[in-house]
Structures are given as C-alpha cells and as structure tokens.
Symmetry: C2
Subunit: 722 residues, 2 copies
C-alpha cells in the first residue's frame, strides 16, 4: 500500500504542477483589446462546442453506465463513470488553458521567440501533466479504494473484482476518448478545410484573415480537436495500457498476495517516477545558441528520457527489492500465455522487467526520431513531396501517398523487434511493462503536442489582430515545429497501442481459460490457430474496421467542410461589407454550424468499434458455436491492430509530411508562396488534414475500445458480477 | 486419366478459339495509311518494351530455375520453366492481338458502335481464352506427364513429387507475373501521368493529341500494362488457385489412388467445362435495344455464369459419380486442418463440393456487382467524388480516398461469408473448390478486361489520325465501360486471392506436419496461435509488405512520370515545329525512356515478396528457434493477405471511381469539360492512375508469390528433392 501511496503522491504532484504553471501562464499579459476580443470569441466557441459534445457523449455514457451496472455490477459502473469523467476533464481543462495561452503566446512573441516558446510550451506542459497525473490518480485511486475496502489479492473472486473494475475504468476513458477524438477531429478539419477552400482558394485572402467568417471556427478547432481531443485520447491510452498491465499481472502471476501487490503497483510507480522526470524535463526547454525550436523541445524530451532510466531502476528496486530474484518461477511462468518464458528462463527477474522498460523507452525515442524523419522539413520525404509539387497537384498527392505508405515500415520493424525482445526477457508481462514504460513518458509527449494548437492559435490571433510581421514570423516558426510534434504523439500513441493490444489480447485469452466453465467452452478450448477459418474471418473483419472507420471520418470532414463553404459564400454574398473590411462577418454562425455537423457525424463511426465485437461474436456463435465465436472475436481484436497500425501511421505521418511540404515551399523553395508548386502543395495539405487529424488519430482509441468491449463481453457472458 | 484428357481437350479448344477468332479480327480492315502508321508505332513500342522486359526477367528466371533445380530437383525446375514461359506467352500473345485490334476497332467504329464493340471484345476474348486455356494446359499437362511417367498416387513419395512440381509451376507463373504486372504497370502509368501532366495541364492540348511526344508511349502502355501485365497476372492466379486446390487435395485426402485421381482431376475439369461456357458467352455480347455497352458485356458474362451451373454439376458427376457418396469419411476428414468437417459432417459429399462451387460463382457475381457500384458513373460513390470536385482538388482527393477506404467493406463481408459457408460444407477443401470455381470463369472475366486497352487505344488512334468526332464519341463510350471492367477484374483477382491464400496456408501447415521429422520440429509442433507473439510479429511484417510494395510502386510511377515531363518539355523547346504541327515529335525517344525507367524500377519491389519470407524465417529461427521461425513465416503469409486485400481493393476501386468521376464530369455534369470541377477531377484521375494500375493490381501476384516461396522453402529445408 505504501508503493501505491507514492504513486498517488506523484499524481498529486502533477496536478500541483498544473495549478502552479497555470497561474504563471495566466499572469502573463493577454495583449491589447483587439487580441482579447478575438481570444474571447475563440474561448466562447470552444466552450460551446465542448459543452455540446460532452452533453451528447453523456447521453451515450449514461446508457452504457447503466448497461455496465446491470451486466457487471455497481463497482465497475462507478469505475466506468470515473474513467469517463476524468477523460472528459483532461480534455476540458487542456482546452481551457489552451484558449487562454494562445493570446498570451502571441503577446509574448511580440518581445522574443523565447517568450512565445515558454508560454506555449508551459500551456502544453499543463495539459501533459494533467493527462498523466489524472490518469495515474484514476487507476491508483480505484485500486487503492478497492484494497482499502478489503479486497484480498489472495482471493480469486476479489482479484476478478479488481480486474473488472480496472477494465471498466479503461472502458469509460476509451468511450469518451473516441467521441472526443473523432468529434474534435471532424470539427477542426471541417473548419480548417472549409476556411482554406473558400478563403485561400476562392476569395484569395490569406490564412487567418479576419474577413473569413470561418476563421474563428478554424481556431476553435485547434483547441477542441488537437488539444482536448488529443488529451482525452492520451488519457485513455495511459489508463488502458497501465490498467492492462495490472490486469494481466493479476491474471497471470500466481504468487503470494504481497508479491502480487508489489508487482501490480509497479506500473503505477513507473508512471509516478516518470511524472517527476517529465516535470524536470519541462524546465529544460530553452532555445540554444542556434535558436532551433525543435532543439529546445528535444532538450526537454531527452532530459526526461535519460533521467527516466535511473528513475525506472529506482522504482523497480522499490517495488521488487532484489532485482535478481526470480518472480513466479517455472510453475507460475508456465501459466504465461505461450509458455516461452517457462521454457527459456524458468521465470523472469526484476532485471528482466527493468530491461523491458528500457525497451519501452527506446521504442519511444525511435518512434520520435522516425516520425521526425518522415515529417520534418530537413529530410528526403518532405522534400520529395515538395519537389513533386512542381509538376502539379496530381504528382504532389501521388508522392504524398507513396510517403504515407512507406512511413509505416520502420515503426513496424521497431515494434516487432520490441515485441520479440521484451517477450524473450519476460514473456507477455515483459511486453506489458515495455508498453507501460512507453506511456510513462506521456506527460512529456503530450506537453510537446499540446504546445502545437497554442502556437497555431497564436499565429491566427497575430494575423487577425494585425500584429507586426515580425511577430507573425515568430509564431509561424513555433507553429511549423508543432506539425512535427503533433505527428510524433500520434505515432507514439499508435505504437504503444500495438503493444497494448497484445497485452489486451493476452488478457482476453487468459480470461477465456479462466471462464471456460461458466462459458461452457468444450475441453479443446478455443482454437486461435491461424488455420481455423473463423480466425481468418475475424482477422479480416477486424482489419476492415479501421478502413470503414477512416472512410466515415474522411467523408464526414468532406461533408462538413462543404457546409462551411456554402455558409461562408452566403455570408460574402449577403454582406459585401465583409470583404472591404467595413463589416464584421458572423463568426458565431459558422462555429455553430460546424459544431452541429461534428456532433452529428461523430456518433455512428464511434459506435462502430463498440458494437462490432458484440455483433461478430453473436453471429459467428450462432452459425458455428460458442468456441468459434470466441475465436473469431479474438482474431477480430488482433485484426484491428494489424490493420489499424498501418492505417494510423500512414495517415498521421503522411498528413504531417504534406503539411510541412507546403511549409517547405512557403520557406522559399520551388518557387515559394503563390507559385504553382505552392498551389499543388496546398492541395496536398488539404488532403492530409483529415488524414492526420481526424481519421488517423481516432484509430488509436478505436483499437482499444474494440479490445475492451470484448473483455467486458466475456465478463458479462460469464455472468461475473463484480 | 480420361478426365484429364477431357480437361486437356477443353484447353486445346480454347487455343483453337483463340486462333480462329484472331483470324476473324485480323481479316478486318485496319483503316487508312495514317491509322496503320500510328498502329505500327504502337506495335513497335510495345514489342520493344516487352522484349526488353522479358529479357530482364529471363535473367532472374534462369537464376531462380537453377536454384530450384539445385534445392528441389530437375522436375520442379522444368515445371518452373513451363510456368514462366507460358505466363510470358499469355501476356505476349495478348499484347500482339491487342496492338492489331486497336486500329481495327477504330476503323469498325467508323461504321457502327456494334462494329467497334465486336472487334474490341473479340480481341479481349482471344486473350481471355488463351489465358484460361494455356493455364489449364500447363497444369493438366504437367499432371498428365507425371502420371504417364509412372507416378503413383498411392505412393507418398510420388504424391510429394507431384505436389512439388505443381508448386514450382505456380512459382514460375507468379514470378513472371509480378514482374510483368509491376513493370507494365509502371510503364503505362508513367507514360499516362507524364503525358497528361505535360500535355493537358502544361501545353493545354487534348488527350491523345499527336503533337504530344508521350502520346505513343501512353498507348503502348495500355498494351504492355493493362493487357500483357494483366494477362500474366490472371494466368498466375489461375495456375496457383487450381494448382493449390490439387495440392491440398493430395495432401489432405487419404483415400484410394483412383478416387484421389478423380478428386485431383475435378479442378481441371471445372476449368475445362467453364472454358466451354465462356466461349458460348462470348457470342452473346451484342448491343440490345437500349444500346448499353455494359449491358452487352453483361449478357456475355451472365450467360457464362448461368451456363456454368449445369456445367459444374456435369463435371462433378463425371468425376465423382454418385454425388451423395461421402468422400474420405470421418477418419480422412479428420486429417483436415481444423477438423471441423469431421466434427460436423463426418466427411463431405459431391453435393457439398458442388455447392462450394456455386458459392465461388456467387462470389464472382457479387464482386462484379459491388465493383460496378463503386466505379460506375450511375451510383453514389462516383457521383460523390464528382460533386466534391466542385470545391476543388483537395476535396476531390479527400472524397476519393474516403470512397477507396469504404469500397473494401462489402467485398470483405462477401469473402468472409464465402469462407464460412464453404468451410461448413467441406472444410478447407470446400474453400479451395469455391476458389477454383471462381477462377474457372477467368476466360470470360479476362475477356471483359482485355477489351479495355483495345478501346482505349482505338480512341487514341481515332484522335491522332484525325477521324470524325462521331467515331471518337463511339470509342469514348466503349472506353468508359472499360474503366469499370478493368476494376472488376482486379477485384475478382484479389478476391480469389483471399480464398487461394487460405488454401495455400492450409498447404503450408499440412506440409509442416508432414515434414515435422525432416525439419526437426519438436513434439508440440508449430504454435500458430494468435497468442504466440511470433505469430503477431509475422502478421505485422506480412501486413507491412503491401504497404512497402505500394510505396515503391507509387514512387516509381511518380519518378518515371517526372522523367517523361522533362523529356517532353525538352522536345517542345528544341523543336518548336511540334506545336504548330509542322514537325513530328520523336515518339520513340519517349517510349525508350519509359521502357528503361520501368525496367529499372520493377526489379527491387518484385524481389521484395520473394526474399522477405526467406529472411523472416531465418532471422526469427536464429533468434527463437526453428518452430517460431515457421510460426512467424506462416503468420507472414496470412498477414500479407489480411492487409493486401484491403490495400488492393481500396486502390483499384478508388482509382476506378476517380477515373469515372472525371468521365462523369466530362459528360456535362458539374460544369463539364474545362470547368474548375473538371480540373480537380483530372487531379483525382492522375492520383488514381498508379493506385489502380500499378500498385493495387500488383498486390495480387505479390500475395501468391510470398505464399509459394514459403511452400518451396519448406520443401527445400526438408531436403525433399522431387
């Protein structure tokens, strides 16, 4: 219990950091009245949208909470609500900081680049620490309360109660997250694409021009999509990954209650110490001599990553004592899925787990590096797209698609190597701890990401309030880096999802074995072999989900952006004063329109991953029996990740590359702004928008929710009431 | 042996049909001297390219043949060469007919639409029947020769010899096919995209304008890519599917030698009778009252499909006698992978097999219908892309990508239902026979497809030789239908590949069990369970292949098209007479440039699926032991299909939809030709080009070759010398 309290203390520390840093940010000047007015319009729009979004989600949430209560019991229902509320809170608070930091970043950039960077990064760090801190508090809190209420880890029924509660917590977080990610994603890109189409392309006015009625909606989008949606997503990823590691430990390791408690607390402790290293890292973000912004951000990231090595060692020692001691010897390890650990090592040691964590850190660092390669303006991929723009729109898009396909290769290989290496060290548990260590850096990674929408908004505010060109140049420089850091987070989230999905699949198969009696599964068990055609069918149907989901997301953006175009055209037509500056456009009308469209469009795709596992199980079970139903469902879970990994990485990296290819041309290459190449690059950027900010990132929560629904379905079918 | 002779006779009949129909086509008038000259230039270019392509492939082929000889023996090496030569021949002959029928179609279209349709479709039918006939002759011939030379099906060693020879035959066909598909695909799209970019976009001259130096290369591309490449691909698909069905039968069914011979001959007989129904179908292609070209082609297709029902019944009765008799009762069926047949039916009957064949026919019909829905100008998908073009290049591409993602859903569900239904009827053998029945219609399907490049060329010749607008209108109408039929074949090929891949995986696992001793596989066997991390790694690496392959193909087209643009620009600059029509461009120089580029670019991507299985096996075996190497390799095979199915369908359907959205606008919708919407649609079409004609279709042979290499690797490792 002491270990748990340490983890909880670290979570509280993150929240305190958030409060203190918020005050620092809010103390800064918000600039002149014009700037304050614009920022107020953005704040108002963002609040109105999030309010509406959460109200809609709440309806779904209440229904699901009641279903969870009926089928799984009252404790899981409470855990579900906690997960849902905190996931929503992480997004809401992040948005609230972001809409206040944007104008202050613009004002600070008036003085110096460092000033702008500090304000924007602090805002990002608040969101980052709150995401990590609240997620850690949620899991550790639920675990602590259950233990304090007398749950005994030595008792199988009690263990099951804890497992179900943690799974329900993850479900709550995931359910909110998929709606928030998708709804926010549709909002931000519908506004962005619509504003660009009708502003830049038709009316020939620059980006963020205050005459464009969609310009406030575009800026609202950054906050509700790239900030709030992303925060909810990473909160979910954190809760699911750390929770799944604890669940798997509880399911697989047969050891004394005290040892089990220590082992189950370790993931929380990992999260806790890395919050401390992340906080230290945030103070290292400073421009060096070269003035490289990416370099400044990297200083923070690398500080955190390197400090985490001794921190993880400390955490592991604290939890396990002697790292050389074998945990759950041959007999216990024999219960490990696949059994390789038992064969190879006769159990695993604390050292093995520590090395798995280092693998997790290495994967994070490599994914960051690979993403930067594919989306940074200094490397071949982005340059090749920029070059292809010279021959037109078509070749820009072809090369962008080629890069997006190619960008999946290195991350896949890194993930495969990580799977093998951590599995060889400590079996499935090893993979789980590698994933947990990855996620432990979430505070820092989210900080880098949430910095992006703040600078994006700051640029918009600078433009709209007519600040000097110098300021706009500074905010643009800050913003360009944001494109890469945004892509980095997505690659990191989906990469960790690949590991987490394996862990969840392990939990699923273990659950199946444990529930074999209740589920009336025959002696042969469930055949997950690839030579079982129901497994192949499950893989295919699972692989279909990201495609169908992506199609819906892309269509939704296209449709909503079209509505924006029509609305703006009408405003221009009915109010000619807008274009000559004598009259203000009706920003609120466009915001309202996008709000309604995004809410409407997010519902069906979000329910797809919730309902599909249930439908697939019941259909296949009806046709071929329970066992095959479970086999197809299990395969579905892996199918989603096998295909989702590629869909997500290709979309997010490709989109980032398109965006920066445009920026690379705007920096004066291949003819610069206004050239034919630039026009082609704008097309590529538009295509990349829903790729990287709507469909691609939403695949991550989609994968997790499919897996969690399957786990809860098992528990419900087995009649296990927590 | 009598059954075999019937199949061989049907193959010969197809060849005779080809010869007779060739004479009919060649008897038609090739038009005036100008037309003959243009056609001669296209012929020359196509021959030069294919000559160079086959020379290059021959080098790889000889090396591989020697390796096959060393590791597997002389008989497989001969079979490999036969497969390679006939695959090449199918493509070469198809191209030869196509480059002669094009000009005759243009000439016939001068008189009537029916005249043009008849000539073009006959040319397509020649290619179709030769593909099916030669493929059938190859498999039946090898089987017959081995039996005639004394191979005894009752003897396990002899059975193995036959299995290895058939696999090597398939390998030869696949190896040629992947090079031909990819090389031809790069050629055709590099020329097409390059010609469009520099002609339509830069110089503002119409498509197929004789002043464009790339125009002949573009027309050559239709013949070497869409005709020769496609023919080689379908030849390969036919050989692999029918061959794999025979191989699986030999491996799984334990029954008397006579019964086994009958069962192994049945796939050949199915192919044989469907050649007859296909030939009958070709005579039904006539315009009805409404003058619908698609309707005319459908008459032929539906005639063939419906006549095939009684024909398949006849074939099954001929081979098996009493259809009610149980084949390989419980004991034999117990050897079936998965064992479901034994549990459920205690073996399967002739009726079961017959119903599986009907499932194959139904899948073909459904895939045709779904593809038409997604690529035809009468339905929502194409119309939605056309509508999105109104708001610009970006929204056109976004909507096109959304449709391409969405288009995977229905085919996947159809395939999943087919897998389950045929598996419930007759286990893995049932899936194999469903796939064989699908492929049996290849003659007709290829006829519909090969018709496309002929009409495409006819349009080009009409334009270049300055024929009346009326003729061009007729050839355009013929060509528009070609876009849909081309997409249909690709959907059909990849759909059958999904079933065939399952069959090949079944052969792989069965081989593994049979070779367990030689391969020194431990008692537990190879663990193909999804909970084995090496299986997950294999799935991920397999899923990566289509992405990496697609990236290489797209990049190659972009690069080669860029070269074309530079070449044409230079010709315009150095020879100003070209634009005012006083001087002829140097067509041959551009053809030569594209030839070199395509040959160079096809090598590395084509070797990717050949080498990956070998590398993955040896690396994983070195890290985690032989068993895990085989597990990862097996999972790789399924990973390729699980991801390849989606990549291929999305690319081919999406590309077809983009192309026809452009045509839909050109028909006068959304502003018609020359409007802003049209420009955006041209961009979409350009993007769709390498999607649908280079990267997408080449995924099909890629999937098969990966599987076959794995099978041969097993045989080689087991030291089984045929």
């Amino acid at each position: 219990m002491n270990l748990l309290l340490i983890a909880i203390a670290c979570g509280v520390l993150a929240v305190i950091y958030g409060i203190i840093t918020s005050q620092q940010v809010l103390r800064a000047s918000p600039g002149n009245q014009r700037m304050v007015d614009i920022a107020a319009a953005i704040q108002e729009g963002a609040k109105a949208y999030l309010g509406r979004q959460y109200t809609t989600i709440a309806i779904v949430g209440v229904v699901v909470a009641v279903l969870v209560g009926i089928f799984l019991g009252i404790t899981p229902a409470i855990a579900f609500v906690v997960g849902a509320l905190l996931s929503g809170a992480a997004g809401y608070i992040g948005m609230n900081i972001s809409v206040r930091a944007n104008v202050r970043t613009a004002e600070a950039a008036r003085t110096s680049l460092q000033g702008g960077l500090t304000t924007a990064f602090r805002a990002g760090a608040i969101t980052g620490m709150l995401v990590a801190g609240l997620a850690l508090l949620a899991i550790a809190g639920i675990f602590y309360v259950l233990l304090a209420m007398g749950a005994d880890l030595a008792d199988a029924g009690n263990r099951r109660e804890i497992v179900t509660a943690l799974t329900a917590l993850a479900f709550g977080a995931s359910l909110i997250s998929i709606f928030a990610r998708l709804g926010g994603g549709i909002f931000t890109k519908a506004a962005d694409v619509g504003a660009d189409l009708v502003g830049k392309v038709e009316a020939g006015i620059p980006e963020d021009d205050p005459r464009n009625p969609a310009v406030i909606a575009d800026n609202v989008g950054d906050n509700v999509g790239d900030c709030a949606g992303m925060a909810a997503d990473l909160f979910e990823t954190y809760v699911v990954t750390v929770g799944a590691t604890m669940v798997l430990t509880a399911l697989l390791i047969r050891t004394g209650a005290d040892d089990l408690l220590a082992l189950m607390s370790l993931p929380l402790l990992i999260g806790g110490v890395c919050i401390i290293t992340s906080i230290i890292g945030t103070y290292m973000v400073r421009l060096g001599k070269g003035g490289s912004i990416m370099g400044a951000l990297y200083k923070g990231f690398w500080t955190t990553a390197l400090l985490s090595v001794p921190a993880l060692y400390l955490a592991t020692t604290l939890a396990l004592g002697d790292l050389g001691q074998v945990i759950g010897g041959p007999e216990a390890a024999g219960t490990d899925v696949g059994g390789a650990v038992a064969q190879q090592t006769g159990g695993f040691t604390g050292w093995d787990l520590f090395f798995c964590m280092l693998i997790g850190l290495a994967v994070t660092a490599l994914l960051v590096w690979i993403t930067e390669y594919y989306t940074g303006t200094n490397y071949r991929p982005v340059k090749s797209i920029a070059k292809a723009s010279e021959t037109g729109h078509g070749t820009n898009v072809i090369q962008g698609l080629a890069i997006s396909l190619e960008s999946t290769a290195l991350p896949t290989i890194v993930i495969c190597v990580a799977i093998i290496a951590s599995y060889l060290l400590a079996g499935l548990i090893g993979i789980a701890f590698a994933a947990t260590a990855m996620l432990a850096l979430a505070g820092m990674v989210v900080a880098l990401d949430a910095y992006g929408p703040v600078t994006d908004n700051a640029g918009g505010i600078a433009e709209m309030s007519g600040m000097e060109d110098e300021v706009r140049t500074r905010t643009d420089a800050l913003d360009a880096v944001g494109n890469t850091t945004k892509a980095v987070t997505k690659g990191y989230a989906i990469g960790s999802a690949a590991l987490a999905a394996l862990v969840l699949f392990g939990a699923y198969t273990t659950d199946l074995r444990e529930f074999a009696g209740e589920l009336k599964i025959g002696e042969g068990g469930v055949d997950f072999s690839l030579s079982n055609p129901y497994v192949v069918v499950g893989l295919l149907l699972g692989a279909l989900l990201p495609y169908l989901f992506g199609a819906m997301g892309m269509t939704a953006v296209g449709r909503a952006a079209g509505d924006v175009v029509l609305d703006v055209r009408e405003q221009f037509r009915n109010n000619p004063g807008i274009m000559d500056g004598s009259s203000r456009p009706n920003y609120a009308r466009t915001v309202d329109l996008v709000t309604k469209a995004a809410i409407k469009e997010m519902i069906i795709p979000s329910l797809l991953p919730v309902l599909t596992p249930i439908v697939v199980y019941f259909v296949i079970a009806a046709v071929a029996g329970r066992e095959q139903g479970f086999a197809a469902l299990g395969a579905l879970l892996l199918g989603v990740i096998v295909s989702g990994l590629f869909v997500a990485i290709s979309m997010t990296s490709g989109g980032g590359a398109w965006d920066n290819a445009k920026k690379y041309i705007e920096d004066g290459n291949y003819g610069g702004k206004g050239s034919e190449a630039h026009k082609a690059a704008v097309t590529g950027d538009t295509v990349g928008d829903p790729y990287k900010d709507t469909a691609g990132p939403a695949v991550n929560p989609m994968i997790k929710i499919t897996n969690i629904v399957a786990l809860l379905l098992l528990a419900a079918l087995a009649g296990h009431v927590g």
